[in-house]
Amino acid sequence: MTRTNIAIRPYLRTKGKFADEEYEPGEEVLYALTTSKILVLGAGGLGCEILKNLASSGFKEIHVIDMDTIDLSNLNRQFLFRTQDIGRPKAEVAAEYVMKRFKGVNIIPYYGKLQDKDEAYYAQFQVVISGLDSIEARRWINNTLVNLVDPEDASSVKFLIDGGTEGFRGQTKVIIPTFTACYECSLDTISGQTTYPMCTITNNPRLPEHCIEYVSTIEWPQSHKDQKLDMDDPEHVTWLHERSLARAKEFGIEGITRSLCLGVVKNIIPAIASTNAIIAASCCNEAFKIVTSSNPILENFMMYSGNDSVFTYTFAYERKDDCPVCGGL
């Protein structure tokens, strides 16, 4: 036997009082939910949650793309993976797990880059949910989906739902290419990596981070020639840690730890299951409303912060006329 839609049916069989006037509930809506193709970008912390939620809320045709393999430090939140899966492609393991758990759901994984796929591939989806951790990858998919828009063809407009988290904070963005602000429009709200001035790193270090930056960017290339620093290689990390300690000692600086070395060089962002759960579910909630039209969708950004009590801020982010991607379209 396969899983039924008993718990989802009531949501689509009747019409709520907040639904759009033209909305007609019924079997067709359920059919739309089970047949609509949805693409998930990233099978990491957000991706695992997104796949679970889509399967649990009635979606049946899901694709997932991820270029990474499973690492030990993923297991505190990427709950579709176990110790024995370490080293295997995330997209494949995640798809296997969810399909085994949820019979009747079809998930097609792709282990590789977003850029490997062409426009025809992306054109088959109605909704794309992004749980990516890189700004560049997000910009790429945003650009691709904006380019797909054909003003003569409504089905060429693909909804992009973008989720992101950091520690106890996160945000959900619903992007309707050429209709609402795109990812690029909101780029100036995103803060990049901390950088330190060169003369501080080389001549006047004051913080442990300055010492680590010096060792990783200047000492390593000097002593290792062409070999690249690989922070996933414990021996490399040990070398970096010891050299950073030595440099810090020379300048009387305290606070170098192995964990800090990893954090600075890999630009590690703290991540926990609960924040991923909130943001992934918020993204999937929007996808469910988009595909079923059962209720109005988010307009268009939602910020979540759990550092100080619980705080959500929902607002309409305006399109930018001079946006290099969607401006003028």
């Binding site: 590690i268 926990i272 759960a277 550092n307």
Partner: protein, 509 residues
Amino acid sequence: MSKEEKYDRQLRLWQSSGQSNLEHSRIVLVSPNLASLELMKNLILPGLGHFTILDSEENVITEEDLSNNFYITEDQLGLSKAEVFASNLNELNLDSTHEVVKIEGTVQDFLASDDLSDKFPWNSYDFIVANWQFPSLIDLVQGLSNTSLIVVNSLSFFGTLRIFQKSYKFIETHSEKMLDLRLLNPWKELTDYSDSIDLEALDLQEHSQIPFLIIQLKAMEEYKRQHGGELPKAYSDRKVYKAIIQGWKKSYDELNFDEALTNSNKIFNPQKVPEDLQKIFDSLEGDFDAKDKYWLLVKALKIFVDSNDGNLPLTGEIPDMDSTTENYMTLKGIYKDKFSKDLTNFEGHLQELNVNEIKFTTDEIVKFIKNSKYLYYSKLSSKLINNVDLFIEDFGSELSEFQSIILSFIMIENYYLQFNTIPSLTDINALLNITKLFLNNKIQITETYEKVLYEILRVEGKELANISSIMGGIGAQELLKLITLQYKPLDDFLVFDGIRSVSERYKIK
């Protein structure tokens, strides 16, 4: 397998002290729903110590569960919910342990029994997680010294969360710090160091490597010299002060002078006891307990402040600033020395107060001092909102959207606890009548209320996986804060609307 590596991404948030608390924490989950299962998942993954699922032996996996619950497989249809959920959740992280307690009869009957406190070892748990506000459970928790109750619910596109805990006593709030640099009232060692530097005598290279704090301090002395010992107060005074710094700049590219200028307004931020901390001091009168570490530390802090001209102990921290390593380290050393002196004084006050000789580690005291400006304390209510006056007290007398969601949940909860079934659309008139009785003509039912109630009733008690996952995520974040005693938790009621993706918080009086 290294725990540091496995838990690396979360240790960066709550460090090993928070992790240790989590690994020693015990939770009992009463009669799971989708939201509370999601909540538990988010605690088991980061390494919760132990969880117990308490449920009726009659509750078995149904086809309905199969349609929206990820934590079961279809061949588990008909098996005990408590057992299936417990083992499937534990499979997520074997660092946790679990136990299953199955009771005869319904959960409602069990929780309504007179000898509830004897029927289960409640006090061996730190938290009880449930999905309805069982009055007996709320009563029970009031009588337990170290057990709190979290109620999480999700129906239709809406959710609520409430925390029942006697009080919050937090030290590590991770607030964005406004460092106390004491530039308006420097101590002798800092002034001496500043005086030992003669800006005019320095060559350009040296001049551009003086830490901006020293520049600001010197400019403050100069201002006072020009103005009969007065500090700059009005906005126009500050402009004069800034002009002094600007005038000393020898070259356009002296970064340290730019930093002195851009950071000059911060000097005037009030550095003494902030309002929230003052409230905690005021609470000493009624709440001080000489056997409680938190209160001993707070009282010692109050004594310190009173005997130090209103200043809090210095934390010894300074921001990074353009300067040579040597200049920076010298300055940092002066701040650190002052911190050490303040620490010694503080420890003296603490020792005098600590008549019961409770053991404090130096780490504990240092942590307290470094966070003392941003302590967090709150007392929570255990009030059950069971009449309209109590409702108005907390949520006002207007039934707009959030109030409508809250009232709908209260009405449905009452209905459920009475009839053991969640009402559906066919019961809408019954629900409206119950609401009218509850509101007792003090609040009028609004169209918004009817719409919200309709939206909830039409889903026949079925949880939406996404909304339950959001509520479980929020609930888990709050529990993590309560367990690690870090950041600031919800105080104490939250309502979430997944149609508009908005939320509102309330403090129950």
